[in-house]
Symmetry: C2
Subunit: 352 residues, 2 copies
């Protein structure tokens, strides 16, 4: 196994599409939220672990998240990553009950991110943070970040204080993203208090399982509630090999049609494009963050489309160089591999 | 497309491994539970729909569940199903707070099932119902059903009043199943009250999504809690293409190892066999109930093993004859197809 290098000698650049950073303002807000009464149980489990657990992995992650300079570039070089698409780390502002502070944290993060990109324009791109719990301000911040700071997408860390983007209260956020042609990356969050019970009890609330439940459900309810009939040009990105929705495709279509035909739920009306799968193939892009596995990458390319499946590393949460080498070695044409590692991301994030 | 017929002319018999029936005693208990105070919200959503909704699909299902005679045989003939492995329909006894009644409902169902099998011994096999909320009685009933009634497995409809089989209180149930070499089919249930919140709100609590969350999590926590280190010969069957766990395999292994290495959770200790995937490949069998999709069947055969992937129809919940024809037409060797449709089930359920 040769060590992957940057520069594209293998026939493609490697653009990693779900890479995380933090800011001092976010860390301070996390600490205050952790100390507040009635803290969200998933947040306490997740951020309590990453901020303060003494084990090697959380300590490496805490250090690496804070760096947008030479150490990060060196880590990218050592792993053959040409460019990171950066996003403020989960759950970012989504958990903050102080709406004014959440908005400030997002704005500061976008300013810091734009600054880092200006220092390393060939190595970094980024997604806009926002605080959707203040929808009008969030829409304004998305517009500022895209048009004035040059950011290329929006990141929203799944549920917002227990609510989801299909809720009409968030319509300005979706409108802004669609109008600006900025894809929304729905990054995982831990499940909210009314969904986390048995997962938390069993230690399955985080990346091992709960993240996928939460984020897959969020993506699915955007579809079944008709969000993409209202915002047909909106593009949503989900990671972790589509949070297993590609594998569920047959059952989603079958049971959605059965539910609609029976009129079982007020929430589930007929959709303009009919099947759930039509929306996954036309309004979604999927990254393989956390899943360096040829079987799953190729499955998703076959059932969703190879123009919609993108590479992501998930730095610094999961970043062994061996995973890059494994993906380089996939039995896949160079043309398809170039789409996966490079050109799908260039098109989606408008990187030239 | 030719209509599938029974008899094995295509080179294999079709044994369908997750087929449902009900009894008058269960229907009466469901009605009483629905009328009781503080009814489980998932139960009300699911069984309220199937018992009383006027749409065509729930009315067909209610009729078909009640028949263990000529009408069922005719439906099997029309779909080319040689044998059904029958299980008392979900959530069966799991939701009943009256433990004595739950035990009685299970016993009566097993007697009725054994009677139906004696009338159609070449067409029906069956799984034992039990009421795990009374673990000692449940273990005794499993023993009676397997040794005296000739049933071939045990069905448990996921959570038992919000608790899971890794809870030590259920140890007699697992011991009995292992000692009798009777596999446990973990059939879906709706998520319990402390996990169903946003899924119920969005109409995603049932077969379209919530079933998979609930049952996949149940299977996963059996693994991560060390159940199979304590009961190494225990075999568990899960349907719906493994509730997506095969597709999650890489991430489950990675994040489980990361969690164990960091000592993040009291609940998650190192496992004897190391990786989660080792248990999925050695202690699980997977049926394709509800997923008549070549891509997913073959993916699961590749990553779990073709000796562990079995056919199921999910009659009467999902039973279009076209699905049988689609699976007959899979691009797969006759030898592998015979394992899938026939011989894996014969071995697992000891059908001769």
């Amino acid at each position: 196994m040769t060590t992957p290098r940057t520069g594209g000698a293998q026939g493609y650049l490697r653009i990693a599409a779900e890479e995380a950073f933090t800011t001092p303002e976010l860390v301070a807000a996390f600490r205050d939220e952790l100390a507040a009464p009635d803290v969200d149980p998933g947040f306490r489990s997740l951020i309590g672990f990453y901020l303060d657990h003494p084990a090697e992995r959380p300590r490496f992650i805490a250090r690496a998240l804070n760096d947008l300079g030479e150490n990060r570039i060196a880590d990218m070089d050592a792993r053959g990553i040409d460019r990171q698409i950066l996003a403020l780390t989960a759950p970012a502002t989504n958990v903050m009950r102080d709406v004014e502070r959440a908005t400030m944290v997002a704005q500061t993060a976008n300013d810091r991110l734009a600054d880092a990109i200006s220092r390393y324009p060939t190595r970094f791109s980024g997604m806009a943070a926002c605080a959707p719990q203040a929808p009008k301000l969030a829409a304004r911040e998305i517009e500022r970040a895209v048009t004035r700071l040059g950011l290329n997408a929006v990141v929203i860390n799944s549920h917002i204080l227990g609510e989801y983007l299909d809720n009409p209260k968030f319509q300005e956020v979706l409108e802004a993203a669609e109008a600006l042609d900025a894809p929304i990356y729905i990054h995982p969050n831990t499940p909210p208090a009314n969904m986390i019970g048995p997962m938390l009890e069993a230690g399955l609330d985080g990346a091992i399982f709960g993240f996928g439940v939460e984020t897959g459900m969020h993506a699915l309810r955007l579809i079944t509630s008709g969000v993409f009939d209202r915002y047909p040009k909106l593009q949503v990105i989900i990671g972790h090999m589509g949070e297993a929705l590609p594998f569920w495709l047959y059952r989603l279509d079958y049971m959605h049609q059965a539910g609609v035909a029976a009129g079982r739920y007020e929430f589930m009306k007929p959709l303009k494009k009919g099947k759930v799968s039509n929306y996954l193939r036309e309004n979604f892009h999927i990254t393989n963050s956390g899943v360096a596995w040829e079987e799953a990458v190729k499955f998703t390319q076959r059932v969703i489309g190879e123009d919609r499946v993108l590479y992501a590393m998930d730095y610094p949460y999961q970043c062994p160089v061996e995973e890059v080498a494994t993906l380089d070695a996939m039995d896949m044409s160079l043309e398809t591999k170039r789409k996966f590692f490079q050109t799908n991301a260039e098109r989606l994030f408008k990187i030239s």
